[in-house]
């Protein structure tokens, strides 16, 4: 595709240089490859050889990556348990919203069967659906300075209507995001009462803990209003250690999202039965959102997703096919591209 071309230098220059030198104020433009637009340049041209090479190259790179990604994805064991309906007593299922807003006991037991061996760490996620954490009103409703600095506690201008309590006392952390903090909780045990400890440390980004959320900022007046959104916070623990909050405050980009709940740092074996005691507190019923509990291992590429591998394979395969097609065309009709019989304006050369 590339061919190097050294532009020919101006020949008219040498001859008249002397005479112009004599003239003191000659307006002759000075010669330089730049001003004469003769800089050495590559001129990429799509010759068949280059086209075929490029297509082949893409397929050679893409197919292995695709295979590797697919394998990585297959290695990951992921268990998804959807529970938002199951965890409502059958009697209350006609009025789920009413139930979730009542003060009834919302404990719920779930049993998950492990199908494949899961090596630790096993990541626990909750997955919500139809929840617009990316809504403009929602995303903006926070105060970064307040989260970081105890002195800026009253900086709640962006947080309305969850900025202040009764219009006077600032709420820390303020805003809709914090207010709607997820408050389902899970505890796990295996094969009849072998408790699986959930490590809830370091589930958030380190930079968030260190820089975004202050070590000296403590929750104040949180969830004290008339309307209670979600979880409340322990006022004796600084925000930088409230990792559930930190995770939640990193808003999701799409309405379906997972968030890290914790880690199980024990291997799970096939056929293990994991029992989950679940506090189903969070109201997703008003907006018909699903709730899912996800247990997943990771590979070097992250979690389970076949899309990347398949996409790589498809694109790689397509390129291979195109390379073949071009080769065939080239072999069947090896007409020179520079064939002068193309030099015609008869056909309407449109398009790009």
């Amino acid at each position: 595709m590339m061919s190097s071309n050294t532009a020919s230098s101006s020949s008219g220059n040498a001859g008249s240089a002397d005479s112009s030198a004599n003239r003191r104020t000659s307006k002759r433009p000075k010669y330089s490859r730049f001003t004469q637009q003769e800089l050495p340049a590559c001129k990429p041209i799509l010759t068949p050889k280059w086209v075929i090479t490029v297509f082949l190259l893409v397929s050679i790179v893409f197919i292995p990556i695709g295979v590797a990604s697919l394998f990585a994805s297959r290695d990951v064991v992921e268990i998804v348990d959807r529970y938002e309906t199951e965890c409502i007593p059958p009697a209350n299922r006609t009025n789920k919203v009413g139930f979730i807003q009542s003060s009834a006991d919302k404990t719920c037991n779930r049993t998950i069967k492990v199908t494949k061996r899961m090596k630790q760490p096993i990541y626990i996620y909750y997955q919500l659906d139809n929840f617009y954490q990316n809504h403009r009103r929602y995303v903006k409703s926070r105060s970064d300075s307040q989260l970081k600095d105890p002195k800026s506690a009253s900086d709640t201008s962006a947080c309305d209507p969850e900025g202040t309590l009764n219009g006077t006392v600032p709420i820390v952390p303020c805003g809709l995001i914090a207010w709607s903090l997820f408050n389902d909780s899970y505890s796990f045990s295996r094969n009849n009462n072998e408790t699986l400890t959930v490590n809830k440390k370091e589930i958030s980004w380190k930079s968030d803990r260190d820089h975004k959320f202050g070590k000296a900022v403590f929750p104040k007046n949180f969830q004290n209003g008339t309307l209670i959104g979600g979880a409340s916070l322990n006022e004796s623990i600084p925000l930088s250690e409230q990792e559930d909050l930190i995770v939640w405050m990193r808003t999701a980009a799409l309405p379906t999202f997972r968030k890290l709940y914790g880690k199980i740092e024990t291997d799970l074996n096939p056929n293990d039965e994991v029992r989950v005691i679940l506090e189903n507190n969070y109201n997703t019923y008003s907006f018909n959102g699903k709730k899912k509990l996800v247990l997943s291992t990771t590979s070097w590429l992250g979690g389970k997703n076949d899309f990347l591998g398949i996409a790589y394979l498809t694109v790689g395969g397509l390129c291979f096919f195109l390379a073949l097609l071009f080769t065939v065309v080239y072999l069947v009709k090896p007409r020179r591209l520079g064939d002068p019989s193309y030099l015609s304006w008869n056909r309407n050369p449109g398009g790009r």
Binding site: S19, Q36, A41, N134, A253, L337, W345, G350, G351, R352
Partner: protein, 1271 residues
């Protein structure tokens, strides 16, 4: 500018050309009415009636911007653009809660863009000033200012010094100047200041021209002039203090300070000579003449009693017209341009004049003329506006779609008392999200949407294009191959708006004299006493000889020495400008041996005497040069000098010659008493002079066009008529300009009677004085005796035939519009390969016997009717001739003369005529007036809808240049008038080839590609936002951080596209010239037609779809790194943005054809800049960087998935385009593809051999193609 008013203005200008001398009666009637309301109280500016008139002072300022008004004025200019107003509104809205992103991030790019545009404006203004008489600046200022400084004008000096402090741009010239002043200055108080200034000036060197221009204005405003004061003496005052009505005295070699009415001069008859170099660039002297009534006011005493009132026209820009009346001594005198001295012209050869100030300052004609040329916009730019409208509609469409969905979603938030999305607190919300007022929220959201998707409208497009165009202009100006050594003139792009239009020219309309030819007249042949002299062979003759199959072509009939034509230049020592006559029979004094030596003597005497040239003796070399009104006249005087009749001096009443005495062979001085000059006018077509020689004979010497001269010969003066006519015909065929020379002796009585009559006519004060004078002159210019005829050649410029050939190969149609005779024009046509052998000529003329017969009867209506019919018939015949030969390979050349053209341009006929003309390969219009030239240009422009380019060099081409889409001025001999109204100035016609085929082609391509790409990149970006909205319930939350977005257009994508616009070349200059057909890409607009633009746009939409969906599917919802973290809003934004930056930059890399280090640097640099930006921005405190905090370093970079996704998305997004291009290059290659491949294969060497033949065939195909498209 609205088309209507522009048109009006043009016709106004044309009018001034067509009616050089408007008939007095008609115009003078209008005095006192609208447009003619000026009243000047001469010598009495303090008259109580004059004061309330309050005319402007004589202060001038020529810069568009000054330091004070620059910012507000240029801001205003900026916001005249619709797109910029949109952005301004957006900027205001950004302060409201409607804004999807923060106000600073919206304002920043707007400020950058508008700032850049303003800077560009400033640079342009600065450049404009630079081109305005920069030479004059250096020479003029250095001389006059230093002179003035010697007089130690304190104020002036202080101003200078002050300026150098205010503007850090006072530079070397001023420093030099000041140091000069320093040495000359005797004011010690100023000297320290001056020294300081000199030092300062030498330290800081920038903005030199700007300062110089201001400087020039100040200098001009402070020049001194003598004004007649109340105490009846002349006192010096500054120019700027002059008032209308002031009486001034101007000395030799001084400039006129304002437009003056000439009262009297140092000459008794009140004449004076003026040089109008600064007005029209013409170096010859012009004669001005005062009214007889005032020419006696020649001293201060007589002026004391002088009071008069002038009523005249209002200020206007017509240099050659003036209408006014002088009320003096109870009488009325009509005033004409003859009595008006214009500001910026110079008094020459006259000791002093007295004049009355009529127009001052910006009212003067020269200032009224100093308007910018009409602003022209290129076709591409006009189309771009349409595309922007399309984008605006798209913007509105998707915004309303978004707001409808948003409204529905918001309304649903409260349903029967329950809150659906309770986390948004719909119960306690602002109006923007209020479910109870969902429709209002939806409308307000529409505004948010307009802002959010505003990225569809490329904010930086306009400024990028303008920057690119300015840079392109610099390349044009810097092109060495368009530099003309002889006159030291490089090409000059005067406007930057039309660069790409140069690549789309369909028709070139060219002037002949001075454009195709050099306009340096050379005396080459003459016919004396029926014998032809002069053995040189003209270029036309050579071309004719070639055309007639190399058969020796005989001009002289008896003498054929074809071989001599290249040898004869060698033997003649040095070449003399204006003289290329070689004939040993009469040169070097040998004419005395010729049979008709006496006739020869008379012939050259006429040449030496009958003219209005002024000799100019060079003191050092003793050589004499002449300042003449026309180059022809100069050529005659020079020819006479070379043959021994040297005109070396003249006074008011006599002409002095050095002559060879045929008897003694010695040089003697002969004095001819000058009695009368009967001037040349275009209607008289002749000039005569009456002298009395030393033998006391009264002679009338005359020269003129053959058409008027032959009928004035006496019976016994027709001895050589047949031979001379024969010669004249041959000369005309050889492309020469001919004049007939004749004389007669006058009897004393006859003369006396005539003179009386003549003087009476001259002094008459009636309005038709000119006609009267002409009638009397006509009486004596009779019974002439024919002496011979002259032939001067206007040489073809170098490289003209080759250039025309190339342009024709490029499919450009060339029309020549000339004032010449048909024979001359046709032969020049052959000489410059406009007409070729094998071409069928269609001639439309009214020189037929029956029309002439009708004309003699004098029935104008009948003539008009017959002429109209005749022209119609001829056009129809031509048309049928054309269609009958349609399938043959015969090409046609159309020749039409001026008279016929008048009828052909008639409304009824113009379409028919145009249809005929555009189907001819070349068109020559002869005998066309400036107005006709402009009308033809207009007809072609409007009739075909194609781009027209007019090229010309003289004032008579101005109308044409301004009317055409592109005006190209030749900076040649005829001065600067054409150049000043042109868009591009070149020194030689042949540079047009490079200007069009290379620069035009490149610029067209660059701009077209650039605009397409701009739309592509913004659509790609804008639509990713839209897709994201669909997943954010259209709430107006942008997918990216505010600052990523505002940097998109300014930093991450703009430089490569500017590099594309400035540097890209599909093929090298050499190949552009080698394959001229490539130019058709521009004419047919294949790079910027709707399919292509829409193609690019859909490519953008497809890219955005691929980017959005591939990214989301790859990274959602699973963990994206080994440590279990999931993708959130921040990471997603970065991931998708990374893909966008990569895709648009790689797309650029794929689409350009030319990779220098600059392109590499910009493209890869832009991508690198994005990562650098992320790192830098991400390291700011969280309150500043918000969602970008550490996002690359901590979250994305360690994730393999992030990189893999980038790779996948980028490759799959580019794949469609790449495959398309691969298939296109393979199966439907564009012309430049073929040439590129041939170059690559090194095969173009053999192609060149058979190219012309093939081109002919392709051209034929092309024409068929075009015809189909047109029908």
């Amino acid at each position: 500018m609205p088309g209507h008013s522009r048109r009006k203005m043009h016709f106004g200008k044309l009018y001034s050309f067509s009616c050089f001398k408007p008939s007095f009666r008609e115009d003078h009637d209008q005095i006192g009415q609208r447009g003619y309301s000026r009243v000047v109280y001469c010598n009495d500016p303090d008259n109580p009636e004059a004061v309330p008139l309050n005319y402007r002072g004589n202060y001038v300022s020529t810069t568009k911007y000054t330091a004070v008004n620059f910012i507000p004025k240029s801001l205003f200019e900026q916001f005249r653009r619709v797109a910029n107003i949109y952005f301004l509104v957006v900027a205001f809205v950004s302060f409201s809660p409607l804004a999807p992103y923060s106000a600073p991030s919206v304002l920043a790019p707007l400020i950058v863009v508008i700032g850049a545009t303003i800077i560009k404006e400033g640079v342009e203004d600065w450049r404009r000033k630079k081109q305005l008489q920069i030479e004059n600046l250096y020479s003029g200022i250095a001389q006059s200012a230093v002179f003035r400084l010697q007089q130690c004008d304190t104020e002036f000096l202080c101003l200078l010094a002050l300026m150098s402090f205010m503007v850090p741009g006072v530079t070397v010239p001023i420093a030099i100047l000041l140091s000069n002043a320093h040495s000359n200055c005797n004011l010690s108080s100023n000297c320290s200041l001056v020294t300081l200034t000199v030092k300062w000036g030498s330290i800081v060197t920038v903005l030199e021209e700007k300062t110089l221009k201001w400087f020039q204005d100040i200098e001009a405003n402070n020049r001194k002039v003598k004004v007649y004061g109340r105490d009846h003496t002349f006192i010096e005052t500054k120019w700027k203090n002059l008032r209308v009505g002031d009486l001034v005295k101007v000395h030799k070699d001084e400039y006129f300070p304002a437009d003056l009415l000439l009262l009297s001069s140092s000459y008794e008859d009140g004449i004076c000579y003026v040089e109008t170099m600064n007005l029209d660039g013409e170096t010859n002297l012009k004669l001005k003449r005062s009214l007889e009534a005032t020419c006696s006011l020649r001293d201060e005493e007589s002026l004391q009693k002088f009071t008069a009132v002038i009523k005249c026209e209002d200020p206007n820009e017509h240099l050659y017209s003036f209408v006014g009346t002088l009320y003096y001594d109870g009488k009325q005198y009509p005033l004409s341009p003859q009595q008006v001295l214009l500001r910026d012209s110079k008094l020459k050869n006259t000791d002093y004049i007295y004049g009355v100030v009529v127009f001052t300052g910006h009212d003067t004609k020269v200032m009224q003329n100093a308007t910018d040329p009409p602003s022209k916009r290129s076709k591409i730019e006009r189309k771009m506006d349409k595309i922007v409208y399309v984008l605006f509609s798209t913007l509105i469409l998707i915004s309303s779609v978004g707001s409808v969905f948003f409204g529905i979603a918001t309304k649903k938030d409260i349903a029967s008392g329950t809150y659906r999305r309770w986390y948004l607190r719909p119960d306690d919300t602002t109006v923007f999200y209020d479910p109870k007022r969902a429709s209002l929220a939806s409308f307000l959201h529409f505004l948010t949407g307009l802002m959010l998707y505003g990225y569809l409208i490329p904010i930086s497009l306009y400024v990028s294009i303008e920057i690119v165009k300015v840079l392109q202009c610099i390349f044009i100006n810097q092109d060495q191959d368009m530099y003309y050594e002889e006159t030291d003139k490089p090409a000059h792009a005067r406007t930057s708006n039309l660069n790409e239009e140069l690549g789309q020219v369909d028709t070139v309309l060219s002037d002949k004299t001075g454009t195709l030819t050099c306009n340096s007249m050379e005396f080459v042949k003459c016919s004396i006493a029926g014998v032809a002299y002069g053995r040189g062979m003209t270029e036309v003759e050579m071309a004719l000889a070639k055309r007639q199959g190399d058969r020796p072509f005989e001009v002289d009939g008896s003498l054929s020495d074809v071989s001599g034509h290249n040898g004869n230049t060698v033997d003649s020592g040095k070449s003399i400008k204006g003289f290329n006559f070689r004939d040993e029979r009469i040169m070097n004094g040998l004419w005395i041996n010729e049979p008709h030596a006496d006739v020869i003597q008379k012939f050259f005497r006429v040449l030496a005497i009958c003219h209005t040239a002024i000799p100019d003796l060079n003191e050092e070399s003793g050589e004499i040069s002449y300042e003449a009104e026309s180059p022809d006249e100069a050529a005659f005087v020079i020819a006479a000098r070379e043959l021994g009749f040297e005109f070396f001096g003249s006074t008011q009443t006599s002409i002095l010659l050095h002559e060879l005495d045929p008897k003694t062979g010695e040089k003697v001085t002969r004095v001819y008493e000058l009695l009368h000059v009967l001037e040349f006018t275009s209607s008289r077509k002749r000039m005569s002079i009456i002298v009395r020689n030393v033998e006391n004979q009264l002679l009338l010497l005359s020269k003129g066009a053959d058409s008027v001269m032959f009928e004035r010969l006496s019976k016994h003066g027709r001895m050589y008529e047949t031979q001379t006519r024969e010669h004249i015909k041959k000369y005309a065929e050889a492309g020469l300009r001919t004049l007939v020379i004749a004389y007669r002796e006058l009897g004393e009585d006859e003369y006396r009677i005539w003179e009386e009559e003549f003087s009476k006519a001259k002094t008459s004060v009636t309005a038709d004085r000119d006609a009267l004078v002409a009638a009397v002159a006509d009486k004596i210019e009779r019974d002439l005796i024919l002496v011979g005829a002259t032939a001067v050649e206007d040489k073809l410029q170098k490289g003209v035939p080759e250039c025309i050939d190339k342009l024709a190969q490029a499919g450009i149609k060339i029309w020549v519009l000339t004032g010449d005779k048909m024979e001359t024009a046709v032969n020049i046509g052959y000489a410059c390969s406009l007409l070729r052998q094998g071409m069928t000529q269609i001639v439309i003329t009214l020189d037929s016997p029956d029309i002439e017969a009708l004309e003699k009867q004098g029935d104008k209506e009948a003539v008009a009717k017959a002429s109209h019919e005749s022209v119609t018939r001829q056009i129809r015949e031509g048309r049928s001739q054309l269609s009958s030969a349609k399938e043959g390979s015969v090409s046609f050349g159309l020749v039409i003369d001026g008279k016929s053209l008048d009828f052909a341009l008639d409304e009824r006929l113009e379409n028919l005529f145009l249809d005929l003309a555009i189907n001819c390969a070349s068109v020559i219009c002869c005998r066309s007036s400036p107005k006709q030239k402009a009308r033809v240009t207009r007809l072609v422009k409007v009739g075909t809808g194609q781009t027209t380019l007019a090229i010309g060099d003289g004032a008579n081409d101005v109308g044409m240049l301004q009317e055409a889409d592109i005006g190209v001025g030749i900076s040649g001999v005829e001065g600067m008038q054409a150049v000043m109204s042109s868009d591009f100035a070149i020194a030689q016609f042949r540079f047009l080839e490079r200007l069009l085929l290379v620069h035009g082609h490149w610029c067209y391509r660059r701009i077209a590609m650039m605009i397409c790409y701009f739309f592509y990149k913004n659509i790609t970006f804008g639509f990713t936002l839209f897709w994201f909205e669909a997943y954010a319930s259209f709430s107006g939350e942008p997918a990216y951080n505010d600052w990523y977005m505002s940097c998109y257009n300014v930093f991450f994508t703009s430089l490569p596209v500017i590099a594309l616009g400035v540097f890209d070349q599909d093929v090298s200059a050499r190949l552009c010239l080698k394959y001229p057909l490539l130019y058709q890409e521009g004419v047919q607009n294949v790079l910027f037609n709707w399919p292509r633009v829409l193609g690019w746009m859909s490519n953008g939409v497809i890219s955005s779809i691929i980017i959005f969906f591939f990214t989301t599917n790859s990274i959602f919802n699973q963990a994206f790194r080994m440590d279990g973290h999931v993708v959130d809003y921040e990471v997603f934004g970065v991931a998708m943005y990374t893909c966008v930056v990569w895709v648009v930059n790689c797309q650029m890399a794929l689409s350009i054809n030319y990779f220098t280090w600059i392109q590499h640097f910009f493209i890869w640099g832009s991508i690198a800049l994005w990562y650098i930006f992320l790192v830098v921005y991400g390291s700011f405190p969280t309150t500043v960087s918000t969602t970008a905090y550490m996002v690359l370093v901590e979250a994305c970079a360690p994730s393999i998935l992030y990189w893999f996704t980038t790779l996948l998305v980028v490759v799959s997004t580019l794949l469609p385009y790449f495959s398309y291009r691969a298939f296109q290059t393979r199966f439907r290659p564009m012309y430049h593809d073929i040439i590129q491949i041939r170059r690559l294969e090194g095969a173009d060497s053999d192609l060149s051999i058979d190219l012309p033949a093939r081109v002919e065939i392709r051209m034929h195909n092309l024409k068929v193609n075009l015809r189909q498209r047109n029908s």
